[in-house]
Symmetry: C2
Subunit: 366 residues, 2 copies
């Protein structure tokens, strides 16, 4: 039997960041935005996974507030495959919920956990890597896809590889993980980038559901107990009420800290899939295709550029953005707000968000 | 009798430029915009003249399309003091119409002709200069207020002064005008600025109506004949029909070329009134009061600036402009369009306008 027949994809779509303000809002976070002009992040995520698993083996875990939004954006999924967390409890609880739901779909499931708000420029390589990772997962490993670091990013986790494990049947190399390090300081990050033994932790995981649940039992027993209560209710009329009651009581933790840093038999499968978590608007300027002047122009409105170079312009329906003589600038327009900053200041969008909160102008964040 | 009792102010409010796009539109040109936060250019123009003449001695000549707009913005004027040109025929026809209307108000009128779209930072000095110019005009001179040139502007006309004429009773110096030069080339402009004998032609004129009409008779006889027909109809039921019929047939010419360059007894009264014709958005950044970072922020919306310096930001009601780390930038937001350019490229707004015309997107110009 092909391991792929057992693959259940769990898409985590509950995030609510502010790094892409003013487009990203509390009511419409990044995963629900069309940033590329080819569909929302969520839609693109599901589209690239479609060749690997049919809709009835895909689950989306999101915030309860976003359930309707997800069902609207991906109507091909069975409605009960879109599950809302009553309250956000971190990625450990989300992954654990995904695991019990996947096990309910099929007890021998191999689960791939992916994020709905990551950009992947080489979806064919992602699919190949997931197929390979399912093979490794079937051997009993918890597999993380490792991204070759291109610079000393201090906002990501790093995975250190140790001894080589047997390659997959399609030739992917696999290594035992020695250590996870969350968000290192700059000098540590520089050392990690230089040593060739570290990957960025993409948050893309593959494992057998029995294996990940065993790790929950071992390292997060309280969370595991709650998951067992939820699991017992699945398929009964009490399922939703149980989720509503139990989920908010689960410990709040990340999957990295709660499980991956402590688990047995963790493996890393280095990949080159054009991955980015879109840390700021500047990322989109780097990775999306630009025009002959290096401008990345997206959106439903009109842009008119004169002597404008290497700039990111998002337009909104019914409005015109005219830029003359600008360079390396981020211009993000939306219905009620506009952001303008040099690309190397794009991370300071958080300061705008803080100032809006501080000054009671949350309307521009909702 | 005080010459001021004979002063009739004619405000020219028919312009329709594109240099302040996207705020300035065909339906709402510069004179009708609130650029300073203290009222529209037209309202500011009338406010600064109010101490000199009561509303029944103020006339506004505008395009027929803007008559209602003028009456809305300056309800204190008698409605029949707002006169619409059926078609724009240049400043000679507008001034000539103003002269016959002023003569109809009082045959011994001293007429001051001012533009509704100029910014004047020292209104007290303007008023003093107009009082002085009325005294000079009463002697029979056509008086132009001369602006001391601060740089070799090639887009303005220059007035060369000759012999000194008797100063006014309040001590203003007055000179006979030797020559008008329209829009000189750069080297000529540089020479003019250096020689101390040239002023910018502000377009602010004062004269007795009998004197200016005599000059029309001498130098633009065809226009004068048309004005006489219009003048004869004033106060009769045929007045409006006559204006509608005759005005479009008048020669199309500027007052500078048609009259001032050829007239007798032209005098210049040098003034220091903080005058600017607002040639571009950059002008506003130069002349309006900024915040402690040199930012000039105006408009009915919200601006949020972080590490932003020496930039011009116009906001629009209901929208937020957030700028991070920008410098010397012009950001003009409005309901349907947004302009972004470095301040030293503000004159290239005309290229945006041309491109919108060329590409059939005139909706953004209307």
């Amino acid at each position: 039997m092909n391991v792929l027949d057992r693959l259940v994809v769990v898409v985590l779509a509950g995030g609510s960041g502010t790094r892409l303000w003013p487009r990203s809002r509390q009511a419409l976070p990044k995963q629900f935005l069309d940033l590329t002009g080819q569909g929302t992040m969520l839609q693109e995520t599901l589209r690239r996974l479609a060749p690997l698993a049919p809709p009835d083996r895909i689950l989306v875990i999101t915030n309860a507030d976003y359930v309707d939004l997800v069902r609207d954006q991906v109507p091909e999924l069975p409605p009960d495959h879109v599950v809302g967390e009553p309250l956000p409890r971190g990625t450990a609880a989300a992954v654990g919920l995904g695991a019990v739901l996947a096990r309910h779909l099929r007890p021998d499931a191999i689960m791939a956990s992916v994020h709905a708000d990551h950009l992947i420029l080489r979806p064919d390589r992602l699919r190949a890597a997931l197929v390979a990772s399912a093979e490794v997962a079937d051997r009993g490993h918890l597999v993380t896809l490792g991204i070759k670091p291109t610079y000393p990013h201090t906002g990501l986790g790093y995975v250190e590889q140790g001894e080589a494990l047997p390659s997959t049947s399609d030739g992917h190399q696999v290594f035992r993980v020695v250590k996870f390090t969350e968000k290192p300081n700059l000098s540590t990050a520089e050392r990690f980038v230089a040593d060739g033994r570290h990957s960025w932790n993409s948050g893309l995981f593959t494992w057998r559901v029995d294996r990940i649940l065993a790790e929950f039992a071992a390292h997060m027993p309280e969370l595991y107990a709650g998951l067992q209560v939820i699991a017992a209710s699945l398929g009964t009329p009490e399922a939703d009420a149980t989720l509503q009651r139990v989920f908010p009581t689960l410990p709040h933790q990340t999957i990295d800290y709660g499980i991956m840093e402590r688990a047995q038999d963790v493996a890393v499968l280095p990949v080159d899939i054009g991955w980015t978590d879109i840390g700021s608007w500047a990322t989109l300027l780097e990775v999306l295709d630009g025009d002959s002047h290096g401008n990345v122009i997206r959106g439903d409105g009109t842009a008119l550029t004169i002597d404008t170079h290497n700039s990111l312009i998002y337009t909104v329906a019914g409005r015109l953005v005219a830029a003359i003589g600008v360079k390396d600038l981020v211009i993000v327009d939306c219905d009620d707000a506009l952001l303008i900053c040099p690309k190397d200041r794009a991370q300071d969008v958080r300061r705008v968000v803080e100032e809006l909160q501080r000054s009671g102008r949350e309307a521009y964040l909702r």
